[in-house]
Symmetry: C2
Subunit: 216 residues, 2 copies
């Protein structure tokens, strides 16, 4: 019986931490089981296989991402689109960089840059809703329909920026020490928000990069 599934729960916790730190491939079943003080066979017993455990962890990450999107949506409700974008950036960065919540959000970013067979669930359940929300915000800022190519391009430009602040990043080797203190997180969010609003404005006005030489 053991309806609490104690071992199962410990495996999920260990998987969340380790998968979040290193992604699916670079974590070994034996490592997870050691961290969860469980037998090597425990993963296969409770989750079928390694990917089964990963899928459950990823589902939690998907839920966390949806919650973040929802929080950003609500924080921006009734405000002008630029302010909606700023608030989205700030809420997103807090989620990705705060030590308490970072594990699951990093897992998302890893899954996107190095996908597993579980990618589909992520895209359909979490990425698509977020992109739809941001598309609405950006379409307003750009003054164009949400399916304009510029909308998706801007979303790309915005969503990629946070990876500069993740550990392992080259920036650390170049003197930029990012430790993830609340103050640093706000500074990073502030920068990305500023940079992104400015970038979108430039795209909206069709200025900033004439074909190759400089009309301006």
């Amino acid at each position: 019986m053991n309806a609490d599934h104690e071992t199962r729960t410990r495996l999920l916790a260990a998987g969340e931490r380790l998968f979040g730190e290193r992604g699916f491939r670079k974590v070994t079943v034996r490592e997870i089981c050691r961290a969860a003080r469980a037998n090597v066979a425990a993963v296969n017993y409770h989750f079928g296989d390694k990917l089964g455990l990963y899928r459950e962890v990823l589902q939690r990450a998907i839920d966390a991402m949806r919650a973040t999107t929802k929080a950003a949506r609500e924080a921006g409700k009734g405000r002008p689109p630029e302010e909606q974008l700023r608030r989205f950036v700030r809420i997103f960065l807090r989620a990705v960089l705060s030590p308490e919540s970072q594990a699951l959000h990093r897992l998302i970013m890893r899954e996107m840059s190095d996908p597993t067979p579980a990618l589909d669930a992520l895209v359909e359940q979490a990425v698509r809703p977020r992109v739809e929300y941001l598309s609405g915000v950006l379409a307003q800022m750009l003054g164009c329909p949400p399916d304009d190519e510029r909308v998706l391009r801007c979303i790309g430009s915005i969503q990629t920026q946070p990876s500069s602040y993740m550990p392992n990043s080259i920036a650390e080797r170049l003197g930029y020490r990012f430790k993830g203190t609340p103050a640093q997180i706000e500074e990073a969010a502030d920068h990305i928000a500023r940079f992104s609003v400015g970038g979108v404005r430039a795209v909206a006005h069709g200025k900033g990069a004439p074909p190759v030489s400089g009309r301006r």
Copy 2:
């Protein structure tokens, strides 16, 4: 003898292609040897071990990256900093996305997001010079010293954007078809240049993202 090192050359070519497509870890020695029509032992004979082959391929990538930085530097010589940034972005994107030259430049991006023991050479020989060049450009645009934190933050915001246009990217699943035609590459470069110049301007003027609510 065999001073041409035919097998060695084929191994390097196969390694360049495969490492560029999938990175160090996800390529197997047997795969490389099969692609190079060589024996499994060939890699160890010619390069000591797998990492030895990788280091030689990476060195080519480092050289390609330095050449790109140099080309951007020269293309911008004597021009205003914004134009220097635009030209850098365009030259960089052409290198990363053009089918002919993409393999080595993708290897660079892989090495940065998922480092191997060979990372040091990359950072010291290729990343640092590029960052120094961009720091100069951005310091001018921002009107601040090159070691101001905003400089490095902007470099991060600029350099991360191209990953939106790499294969495997989520954008493909959401309807944005990027095939890498010259026209599409120019469009992408145009977008990133516009967005980045606009972003840097906003950071320079301290506008675009007041603390949380909206003064503007």
